[in-house]
Symmetry: C2
Subunit: 573 residues, 2 copies
Amino acid sequence: MQIKNYLPVLEWLPNYKRSNLQGDLSAGLTVGVMLIPQGMAYAMIAGLPPIYGLYASTIPLLIYALLGTSRQLAVGPVAMVSLLTAAGIGTLAEGGTETYIMLAITLALFVGAIQFLLGAFRLGFLVNFLSHPVISGFTSAAALIIGLSQLKHLLGVDIARSHHVHEILLQAIEKASDINWATFAVGIGGILLIKGVKKINKAIPGPLLAVVFGILAVYGLGLTEQGVKIVGTVPDGLPSFVIPSFSGADFSALLPIALTIALVSFMESIAVAKAIQAKHKDYKVSANQELIGLGAANIVGSFFQSYPTTGGFSRTAVNDQAGAKTGLAAIISALLIGLTLLFLTPLFYYLPKAILASVIMVAVFGLIDIKEARHLWATDRADFWMLIATFIGTLSLGIEQGILIGVALSLGVVIFRTTLPHFAVLGKIPGEAHFKNINRFDNLEQRDDVLIMRFDARLYFANVNFFKEAIEAEVEKRKDSLKLFILDANSINSIDSSGVHALEELADELKAQGIEFYMTSVKGPLRDTLRKAHFSEKLGEGNFFMHIQTAIDKFDQKDPQRFEKYVLQTNHA
Amino acid sequence: MQIKNYLPVLEWLPNYKRSNLQGDLSAGLTVGVMLIPQGMAYAMIAGLPPIYGLYASTIPLLIYALLGTSRQLAVGPVAMVSLLTAAGIGTLAEGGTETYIMLAITLALFVGAIQFLLGAFRLGFLVNFLSHPVISGFTSAAALIIGLSQLKHLLGVDIARSHHVHEILLQAIEKASDINWATFAVGIGGILLIKGVKKINKAIPGPLLAVVFGILAVYGLGLTEQGVKIVGTVPDGLPSFVIPSFSGADFSALLPIALTIALVSFMESIAVAKAIQAKHKDYKVSANQELIGLGAANIVGSFFQSYPTTGGFSRTAVNDQAGAKTGLAAIISALLIGLTLLFLTPLFYYLPKAILASVIMVAVFGLIDIKEARHLWATDRADFWMLIATFIGTLSLGIEQGILIGVALSLGVVIFRTTLPHFAVLGKIPGEAHFKNINRFDNLEQRDDVLIMRFDARLYFANVNFFKEAIEAEVEKRKDSLKLFILDANSINSIDSSGVHALEELADELKAQGIEFYMTSVKGPLRDTLRKAHFSEKLGEGNFFMHIQTAIDKFDQKDPQRFEKYVLQTNHA
């Protein structure tokens, strides 16, 4: 039974239902048709010859179909990973050269190895540290960078590669007089076609129509003589088996970028896989097995000339809408690409690069998520600023730096918030044995001789000073009358040695002032730690109570005068 | 009135009581006498001529007396900061040279400026991030490094400076045949004298006796001819006014080390200041004003040839025990050092370096804290490993790296723990309206159609997946009978946008399965966020309850059958 966890294909293939075949076939063909222009375009983003985008659309899909847990996920080249590849390899070799290509393929091996190991060691949870605002800010910025990186192909002018939006725009403006209008017309035509077709009927593959339109326009009107750049000879044949080779220097240069790609691409993939799975419910997506599946797809792919791939947003959505029910759909897509590689590559000779640029631009500008930013502005200001910081960080400092800033900031805010936790002085609801925050409820009863405080945070080294000072300040206010301090530990979820130390100091200080110290509602895990650290002994086991009212009753019973004043005269629920 | 907050001297000087004079005088003289050997010894650790230790024991003390909030804190050169100074400047210049000295003085200016700014911008809380186990592991490792750095002076052999304990020990063993036995005898004599005197009477200044013994031994027995190294000519006169100068390169080289010293030295100082203040209670120690006081002491000191100083552990304890009541004690210490500089420096000509080494070794080996490690082993295993990691990190990677590793690890653990928070399925205490963790209490009542879960953590991006999966697993177990899910939010202290999103998804999933979703005990801050994010609307305001029992009652009243089964037949408190 266990083997199915490691080879999810065994879940669906042995019991394959004929009723699923139509959906899988139609979805597989649709996605395959999408993959032809997308694969070539994304290879261009990555700084690779277009054929490598088709190579990356074969083997990885087959491997994922065997090992992946999602049944609709469409694996292959994606825009973000292509951009990260270009950003990483671009500093090590000249785009399009032999060395560059080999580095991109080696990168796939590294990315795959990292993902595979993360999955094998059950470290899939690491991805949880990328919060939604960080992903949203990062994606929008990366989309902007990717989109603008295609401006040179759309305008037919020479723009030096840059991750700085303003540099690209400045260059474009400077070179406005060099714009090749034939190229621009083809590109704009492609954009309008894709957008227009999408509006009319989402099932029509707009990008493929644009490709056909582009090839026909260039061929029919002889636009190459007008300076429209074309893809040129695309070699035919399936990708061949090549063992990725790398030096020690390559290894250390590629490792950081491989780590970034491994995590970012996994993020993108698991997010869409989970979103689609939530609709189906006939299978489960496992984060660790997904890492293993995507990792294996990248590793095996790299032996067949594939650059880094992952599960993509748009194609997965199409795959699902077109009726994919099992991994068979992906296998059919891969077969279609295989046939294209064998027989159809000559057709792409006249494909204008401007058309590929239009495919990319339409795809990525759709990823710029202004709605989310607006939503966060209205509902969670801290998360809004996190999104903006990641967005600006990515644009100004770079792709990897942007995401690192986002993660560091969001963890920093989490830490910072726990250093100034919420706390409350509690008062009694008249006639009930319940106690609430005096700042949130009116008419609560408070006694001169009893101070009840609740702390809403884990008590640990970074907030113990705040904790002690907050209590000391409240004790100081009541120092003339105070006889009992109750710490309601109800929402102190855990404690470390610094926290225990602070409680000990507090106990000593209160004792020195003649004030009794009780603790109430101490939860299981906290109670365990306090016992182990001998704090329960120090305070006295009898000073721990389940409920605040019980604690106060016990206190009142110690003194006949108090007993008479509070217990006999009051009637609490 | 407010000016007293910025010039704490105005708190005590205008109302100075004659009764305090005796204590201040005796403490001031005792600490001054301690400072002579300690100052010279610590300057040696820092790689500076001994006189600079005395310079650093004058102006900084006076400035702190005006601006500091502690009345017993003894400011001046300390072992840790001296070691950090040597570690930082050692890579930039040759020890003892003009350049080296100027860099050490400039470092004091930088340290002071950083501390002053942190204080002025109210950033004293940053120090909270250094947890007790991290400080303990770091101090023990640094003490070992400092102590061993003096081995060469104790043995009279040439040992290259290193932060690697094994390298120092290996060198010492290799050069065992070169040991200068006269030097070694003087050093061991010093150690035994200091330790012996301490056992007999803590009030006798052992280090000063050792200095006298060493000078007499070298002078009387002519030990310089035996190769015993001496301090030699100590220039007389007070420190002169010199403007610290530095280049842009110095600035960027000194900044990281200045930042480390600024934080570490403040840590040491505030820790001892607070410990002593806790005994006195006639004044308050303010973290931010302490930063300002220590910062100003370093800044002004740097203009009078002072290297970085701070409040030290041992001398502060002595100052307090000897009866210091106000900052006057520190002023008296500074005056005593001033007199020494003017008139007594010729006496130190024959002072053997081995005696200074013995003073240092006794002082720092006392800081190695094995008791704390043993205590943590017994009570808090995670904190124990934090201590060990910081200890080993400091020994193997270096002083600054060690503390950084400690801080990063302790924050990492905090974050990691919140990703796998404690949660509980709750059951009802029979006959009471209270609900407890079914894994910790026996005989709790659970209903087939109601699942109650409590989450003990802030709900945020890094744990929302865990949160959802935990609930989904419990819902799955009861899927045939479950009709109501209650999330007891009692200890969910806050929530971010990812958390709200997870709740929304949960609400949708439960609705799709025909299960009602109630939330209970939602605390104030959480309720505010849920309202703002429109989740309260989505779930329906009527689905929020103060108590679990109220929620269940409401649920039962919706269905006549359930009402009959549970409400009429059961009698809950």
